[in-house]
């Protein structure tokens, strides 16, 4: 996006906010359902200074991080195995593809049956949701390594270990990062879904509670925080992805 376009977008966003404010004041939008930005802003500040809210944010962040840290290595390992071991791969990959297409959210009640309403349940569900994205990414990454490059490295006397370090890893890095990023998006959604569905703490739990009590300013403020956080994480991962993938020619 060019700079001028960026300014236009920013101006449009500002205009939307001001327009919303105006419409609420005129009474055209029900301030009870959609409070004016001037009401949301102080609520946002108040929110971020309340210790219980910060604790909830911490709980959610912990659940997201823990499930991510488990799902990514396990998923990549499974993906590599399926891609490299021929018979196993041929056997299990259709299963993985099938499971990938199955919506994971509907299994949430099962997880609550098994784990109860606990943090473990949320982490387990997060892992469950993220795993398949990461496995698929692992398989794609291994398959993206051009076989000819392996032949070249053989001609020049590379050992097995050198091939992994000099060919496999650099070739796979961009796709691995991309699938980790996508996995994170699914992961965040899964954890928040858990918290909204049934939890004792976490920002999702608070969002559900504020919704139930029709405390709209707090609800909207929390939505902003969550959205901003998720987008920030995604953009950060995207920056890393771009840097690592610089050598990929633009098609």
């Amino acid at each position: 996006m060019r700079r001028s376009e960026r300014l236009v977008v920013a101006a449009a966003a500002l205009g939307a906010v001001l327009g919303w404010e105006a419409l609420v004041r005129r009474g055209w939008i029900d301030g009870g359902l959609a409070p004016a930005p001037s009401v949301i802003a102080p609520a946002l500040v108040a929110l971020l200074t309340r210790p219980e809210v910060l604790t909830s944010l911490g709980v959610t962040a912990w659940e997201i991080l823990a499930s991510f840290m488990i799902a990514v290595p396990v998923g990549f390992f499974i993906g590599f195995t399926l891609a490299e071991v021929p018979f196993l791969g041929g056997l299990l990959r259709p299963l993985v593809n099938f499971l990938f297409g199955v919506p994971k959210s509907i299994f949430l009640p099962v997880f609550i049956l098994v784990f109860g309403v606990t943090i473990t349940q949320k982490i387990a569900f997060g892992v469950f949701t993220t795993l398949f994205v990461v496995i698929t990414g692992g398989i794609a990454a291994v398959e993206s390594v051009p076989r000819e490059l392996l032949t070249v490295s053989r001609v020049y006397g590379a050992t097995r270990w050198q091939m992994v370090r000099e060919i496999y890893l650099p070739a796979m890095a961009p796709i691995l990062l991309e699938s980790a990023r996508l996995g994170m998006i699914f992961n965040i959604t899964a954890v928040l879904l858990c918290e909204i569905y049934g939890a004792r703490d976490g920002i999702g739990y608070r969002i559900a509670a504020w919704g139930e009590n029709v405390q709209m300013p707090q609800l909207y403020a929390a939505l902003l925080v969550v959205a901003a956080g998720a987008v920030a994480v995604n953009e950060a991962l995207r920056v890393v992805e771009a840097r690592i993938g610089r050598w990929r020619s633009v098609p």
């Binding site: 509907i106 009640p109 098994v114 939505l223 969550v226 959205a227």
Partner: protein, 250 residues
């Protein structure tokens, strides 16, 4: 036996083993029945409670239909519109791609406040949930249209309208169908999840009710139904996709 034949046999065998395990492991007490009831019990509940399930379907299917029109219809239109203009592609698409990261599930409490517990909130939520990915898929597909085709058409004297009808539309059909496949799946999931989170009727509501009653067979029966729905949708759209795959502009 040849290698592909062996593989097929292996896959079928694996499927049977998994189904068999689903039945056997709970019965043998290796897996607590509360967590995973035997497959036959889940199916049995599905049959025994068929009236309950059947009465929940009209609500759910109605919500799915409404959301489908909004999300997929709207998604396709907006996606085409965005992809049509190069400026829009450059400016709007990156924004939408960033928006993809937002966990839309947190919008559901808002929907409930706005629309109540009834079907409207489910439709609204599922529509929003499926909208962004649909737009992205459509825009990506339209962007991949081969410009050489359009140029050839112009050289042969086609009018703007003819170009759209005879070139652009058929060429973008494969990605449209792909977008429907994705968007539709998300609509189904969105509706079910919304019903699980807060509703008075519908399949998702039923699943949650069975869960609170600790009736795991009922929960699995509901899940099997949902899987049947998504599976049917997937199969139908795959067939459609195969039909129009020949139109793919390479």
């Amino acid at each position: 036996m040849s290698a592909p034949g062996r593989l097929r046999l292996g896959q079928v065998g694996l499927g049977l083993v998994l189904l068999g395990a689903w039945e056997a492991l709970p019965r043998l007490g290796l897996v607590p029945r509360l967590f995973v009831p035997p497959l036959s019990e889940a199916l049995g509940t599905l049959v025994a409670e068929r009236r309950e399930f059947a009465s929940s379907l009209p609500t759910t299917l109605g919500e799915i239909a409404a959301a489908y029109v909004l999300a997929c219809g709207g998604g396709v239109l907006i996606g085409q519109a965005v992809a049509a203009s190069r400026t829009a592609r450059r400016v709007v698409l990156p924004l939408i791609r960033s928006a993809y990261a937002v966990p839309l599930v947190v919008l559901y409490p808002v929907m409930m406040v706005w629309f109540g517990l009834g079907p409207e909130s489910k439709v609204a939520f599922a529509a929003v949930y499926a909208f962004v990915p649909t737009v992205l898929t459509v825009a990506a597909g339209v962007g991949a249209l081969n410009p050489a085709l359009a140029e050839t058409a112009r050289a042969l004297g086609a009018t703007r309208l003819q170009q759209v009808v005879y070139i652009a539309l058929p060429a973008s059909l494969p990605s449209l169908v792909a977008a429907l496949r994705l968007g539709g799946a998300l609509v189904i999931v969105g509706v079910i999840v919304a019903e699980m989170l807060g509703a008075a009727a519908g399949l998702g509501f039923l699943i949650t009710r069975y869960r609170t009653l600790l009736n795991s067979a009922g929960v699995y029966a509901g899940i099997i139904l949902v899987l049947a729905m998504t599976g049917t949708h997937e199969a139908l759209l795959r067939r459609l996709e195969r039909r129009v795959a020949a139109f793919r502009a390479t």
